[in-house]
């Protein structure tokens, strides 16, 4: 395995460990409150975070 390949594997390993840690330490997903697949036409206002938020 080249050093470049090792770096890529390490990068993704760190990300996956972070995602796994986050999944186990976050509130469980409430599937009863699952939003519609498409926001458009759903009648629900978007509530996610965005870069333009302040």
């Amino acid at each position: 395995m080249t050093s470049r390949a090792s770096a890529i594997v390490l990068f993704w390993a760190v990300l996956i460990v972070f995602f796994a840690w986050d999944w186990t330490h976050s509130s469980p997903v409430n599937h009863r409150k699952e939003p519609a697949i498409l926001a458009i036409g759903s009648g629900q206002a978007p509530s996610g975070g965005h870069c333009s938020a302040f």
Binding site: A7, I8, L15, D22, V29, A39, G49, C51
Partner: protein, 384 residues
């Protein structure tokens, strides 16, 4: 300390296994399909669809080497307008669809509205400088990290840290002076917003065209088919992001969220005491999995899409010295910090701001381009 990164005009960037390009694609494809299914089953179908949209974005960005940073730098240094023209086409297509949708579904869809402010002026200017030194804006850093370029993989954590600290300090910067966000759709309706947006894009295109013809030598062809097609594809995916998520494409909020989660878990940050993270929506996002966050899921998709492209491409690069690494990492931190002050990067502020009729997107472009004029000179001096 040395590593490699691709020269600006390099057609090939990276591979997972140099000895057998493409060999990693099958297991990678299987892993990606499993991730899509797992998101649909364990999280929500909407987040799974957004992950697929992110995959498409990453594939297009990496496959076409569609770089906002490179496009600006090629215009400034080589009078090559092809990258900028592709960006203008992207903006025109995205705006042409998004603005009428926003006018028709004001309760379901939200625009990327940032406040014109001192914070925006400073943030966009600094972002323009640093994106040239760090060789990547928001999307560029993501897809190049996904491609496995050491420079951008190194920049990413500092970008996240900067984005988090920028959001922590945001209200202090806003106190320097700000007005309410200006929505062209709300104030002028879909027709007026479209007319103003297209007029602005035509003016930018003309300015780029005049500049590219002024050099006295034969300028490169302004139309690059690959970049144009990628730009149109990215515009359609940006619209898909809006239709599915109800909000425009964004990058930096997700980065800041990841760092905020780590800081909160480490006990060094109390989100409830902060003006930004203490807001109900942000507190809720902090408590949830990042897989439920819109910008996080498309960010992950972009990196995975770029990784899939990288599995097939051979690598090339040149070494970076320790001094160059230090400069790039500092630039990466400032990139994240300034992107929050500017209410977005090239994606959240420029693409999403302009295509959804926000005045702050236009202010961002002017200041970031001015910063890039300095950034390309600093980049040359540093040799990165």
């Amino acid at each position: 300390m040395q590593a490699t990164f691709p020269p600006a005009a390099s057609p090939a960037v990276s591979s997972i296994g140099a000895s057998a390009p493409g060999r990693a694609r099958w297991p990678l494809t299987v892993a990606i399909v499993l991730a899509v299914l797992a998101l649909a089953w364990f999280v929500t179908v909407r987040q799974s669809v957004l992950f697929v949209i992110g995959l498409g974005m990453g594939g297009l960005l990496a496959g076409a080497r569609f770089g906002f940073t490179t496009g600006w730098r090629r215009l400034i240094e080589a009078r090559d307008a092809s990258g900028v023209f592709a960006q203008i086409v992207l903006l025109a297509v995205a705006a042409g669809i998004s603005i009428p949708l926003l006018a028709s579904f004001p309760g379901d869809l939200a625009a990327a509205l940032g406040p014109p402010s001192i914070s925006l002026l400073i943030g966009a200017f600094v972002f323009g400088i640093t994106m040239q030194i760090a060789d990547g804006c928001g999307s560029g850093t993501l897809y190049k990290a996904g491609l496995g370029i050491p420079l951008n993989m190194g920049v990413l954590p500092l970008f996240a840290l900067g984005s988090f600290l920028g959001s922590v300090h945001l209200h202090g910067w806003l106190s320097l002076g700000a007005v309410a966000p200006v929505s062209l759709v709300r104030d002028w309706g879909a027709g007026g917003a479209l007319a103003a947006t297209f007029a602005g894009l035509v003016a930018c295109g003309l300015a780029a065209w005049v500049w590219s013809r002024k050099g006295g030598v034969a300028a490169p062809a302004p139309w690059n088919r690959k970049l144009l097609l990628a730009g149109i594809g990215l515009a359609l995916l940006a619209v898909a992001n809006l239709v599915v998520a109800g909000q425009p494409w964004g990058v930096v909020y997700g980065f800041g969220l990841w760092a905020a989660k780590v800081a909160t878990a480490a006990g060094v940050f109390d989100p409830a005491a902060n003006a930004f993270w203490g807001q109900a929506g942000n507190l809720r996002t902090l408590e949830q999995s990042v897989f439920l966050d819109v910008t996080s899921i498309t960010n992950i998709g972009i990196m995975a899409g770029a990784l899939w492209i990288a599995a097939r491409r051979p690598s090339s690069g040149k070494p970076l010295t320790g001094r160059q690494w230090a400069a790039v990492l500092v630039a990466g931190f400032l990139l994240g910090y300034s992107s929050r002050l500017a209410f977005g990067c090239n994606v959240g502020a420029m693409v999403s701001g302009i295509s959804t009729g926000s005045l702050h997107g236009w202010i961002w472009v002017a200041l970031a381009f001015a910063g890039s004029l300095i950034g390309v000179r600093l980049r040359r001096r540093l040799g990165v």
